[in-house]
């Protein structure tokens, strides 16, 4: 059983996945941020690999990406930083990023290296289904990495089923068609999540985009197994201060602990 499957086996409600940008706020803060997330109640870490032109991301994550790049982050540096992460991080770690930097690194090498350092899965928003099925999917599977597709309220039912069948670990439900960091009307979102839930998909569902506090986390997880928080956490890190304190305050406020 994969690490991601184990998470959902042990916990079927209120699974919390938190996004952070590698190399942000400072180049060597990556492990510290991950450690704080694990310690303060995150069940999964989504580690963003910064890119100069992140199309699916709103301003907060864009700014953190630009800063991380200026700090000197890149894929090779990241793999070096997390090469021993499994000595301290036991929860699943998913890499999120855009195709171009990965292609330059070498897609196959990237998957090998990710597996080697203990990464569990990948979220690549600009790797579409067609390209996945053509070539990339095989390489991901061969390296025993879970791949997580996104679905949106506009995704047709047949396509949701297909994306679910090719995903492993969980399915990423974007709360509405939007970039990250936008506010959402959760009544509308609830209907969509109920529809997803009723489809009896293979994977558990985590909701992302627009989850920022206890109220939105509660609303999002009412109909699903959990949720993903990104921009709201990055905003807290941007304020500065001690990473451990910031993380514990923020996660406590979201989880209502």
């Amino acid at each position: 059983m994969s690490k991601l499957e184990l998470v959902f086996k042990e916990k079927s409600k209120r699974v919390l996945n938190v996004y952070c940008t590698a190399g942000y706020p400072s180049l060597d803060s990556t492990m510290k941020v991950m450690g704080s997330l694990q310690k303060n109640g995150a069940d999964i870490i989504e580690l963003g690999m910064p890119y100069s032109d992140p199309l699916a991301d709103g301003e907060v994550i864009q700014v953190s990406s630009i800063k991380a790049l200026a700090n000197g982050m890149n894929i090779a540096v990241l793999f070096d930083q997390i090469k021993d992460m499994r000595k301290s991080i036991s929860i699943p770690v998913i890499l999120m990023g855009y195709m171009n930097p990965i292609l330059q690194y070498g897609f196959e090498n990237f998957c090998k290296k990710a597996k080697e350092v203990g990464v569990d899965g990948l979220i690549l928003p600009d790797l579409p289904l067609f390209e996945f099925e053509q070539s990339y999917g095989k390489i991901i599977t061969e390296n025993n990495l879970d791949f997580i597709f996104l679905v949106t309220p506009e995704t047709p039912v047949d396509r949701i089923k297909k994306l679910d069948s090719l995903s492993n670990g969980f399915l990423y439900a974007v709360s509405s068609s939007a970039t990250t960091g936008k506010d959402k009307d959760f009544n509308v979102v609830a209907q969509y999540l109920q529809k997803l839930q009723a489809m009896q998909l293979k994977n558990p569902i985590l909701v992302g985009f627009g989850i920022k506090d206890k109220a939105t986390f509660d609303a999002a997880t009412l109909h699903t197994q959990g949720a993903i928080i990104g921009s709201a956490y990055i905003q807290q890190l941007t304020k500065g201060g001690d990473i451990e304190t910031t993380t514990s305050q923020f996660l406590n406020s979201v989880l209502g602990a």
């Binding site: 855009y98 067609f130 506009e154 396509r159 068609s177 970039t179």
Partner: protein, 399 residues
């Protein structure tokens, strides 16, 4: 490579939008619905006789087509070859960009869209988009890099006068790449009612093919006009500047499968190809993904997109359309470049010897003529993609 085997691919990408290795649709799932609708419908809509009737009518009576093919006698004498100018600068709004926006606005209406968004570099595509939105009574939002808003002020004023909202793109180099990022993000945020009119042969499939087809009227007319003027519909060379590559794609389109016609694409070298301040994508780039398609991209070895430089906002872009990447790789196209300084010189020179003030983008195309070793028997068509009114502020600095 045997060109005859791949000829067909130049005009017709695969079902998934590939020209050789280049193209495709590398888009987040949030855009899937919109792009899929376009992909399954664009050819059908464009081939519909009612669509064609309206498109042809607007091209003729609104845009002012056909644009003249003008024999530039003094320039010809100087260069030592026969040089014709395809006068896209005489299109309504002053550049070829409107050929595409007229097509896409009718398409957007067919798709039931209420609002249009677009990116712009030089502002010509923004003006052309704002213009057709005014014509059709559609809401129009234009994303433009902050730096370009400054250097192309007259076009910003025109867009506003035409009723468009101009939103400054403040990220990155604050130029065309960033305006495109912002436009795509805006589209992600409101996909249902909005159509995104991309201004060049870039973006996810089907945009590169769709825009090339709308612009192909340029070469369709060149063939007819050359036949009338010379008895031969084929020139020896077609020369065009390349930002994303839409005027070049349009000027090349009906010659792509004519191996005797040399297709010359001119990129912006900025301060010089190896100066670190350049936008000569094929010379400096490597295969990569930008704005939803695989092409040649200026990037670091880590795959971060590099900020380009060109004096002309319309060529200040770190990529090229996938068709051009394929033309480059297969050697069907000849890729040359011109520096900022050479382009300025050409703009002043063309103004003096032919009485035509070209856009800075277009001026790049003229800069390579003396370097092409042309023969007296050569018949060269230069795509005069736009007029220079928008660049007067820059020109005035060099008077």
């Amino acid at each position: 490579m045997n060109l005859f085997n791949v000829d067909e691919n130049y005009q017709n990408p695969t079902m998934e939008g590939y020209y050789g290795d280049f193209g495709g649709a590398y888009i987040p799932e949030m855009l899937y619905g919109n792009v899929e609708t376009l992909k399954t419908q664009y050819l059908q809509i464009m081939q519909d006789p009612i669509f064609q009737a309206e498109f042809q009518y607007l091209l003729k009576d609104y845009v002012g087509r056909p644009t003249p093919l003008f024999l530039a006698e003094r320039l010809s004498k100087e260069i030592g070859a026969t040089i014709y100018l395809k006068r896209e600068d005489l299109c309504h709004t002053g550049a070829h960009k409107i050929n595409n926006t007229v097509g896409q606005i009718i398409l957007a209406q067919r798709l039931g869209k209420k609002k249009i968004i677009a990116e712009t570099g030089a502002g010509q595509h923004g003006v052309a988009t704002a213009t057709v939105c005014a014509l059709k009574g559609m809401e129009c939002v234009i994303y433009m890099g902050e730096k370009d808003i400054e250097r192309q002020a007259p076009n910003v004023a025109r867009m506003k006068m035409l009723g468009a909202t101009v939103i400054p793109a403040k990220s990155g180099s604050k130029t065309l790449k960033d305006a495109t990022n912002e436009a795509i993000r805006a589209w992600i945020n409101e996909p249902n009612e909005t159509h995104y009119i991309i201004g060049s042969v870039v973006g996810p499939h089907p945009y590169p093919d769709m825009v090339a087809r709308f612009q192909s009227v340029i070469s369709e007319e060149i063939r007819k006009q050359l036949k009338e003027k010379t008895g031969n519909e084929l020139p020896t060379h077609v020369v065009a500047c390349v930002g994303g590559g839409s005027n070049a794609a349009g000027a090349f389109y009906h010659f792509l499968n004519e191996p005797s016609v040399n297709l010359v694409a001119v990129e912006a070298a900025g301060h010089g190809v190896n100066s670190g301040l350049s936008a000569a994508t094929t010379q400096l780039g490597t295969p990569g993904i930008l704005h939803g398609s695989k092409s040649i991209v200026m990037q670091t070895s880590d795959g971060q997109v590099v900020e380009p430089h060109s004096i002309s906002a319309g060529l200040d872009y770190p990529g090229i359309g996938p068709l051009h990447a394929f033309l480059y790789e297969s050697k069907r196209g000849i890729f040359l470049s011109a520096t900022d300084e050479e382009a300025l010189e050409s703009a002043f020179h063309l103004s003096k010897i032919e009485g035509i003030i070209p856009a800075l983008e277009t001026a790049h195309a003229f800069s390579v003529l003396p370097k092409m070793n042309l023969k007296a028997s050569d018949v060269v068509v230069v795509c005069l993609s736009g007029r220079g009114d928008k660049d007067l502020a820059t020109y005035m600095e060099h008077l």
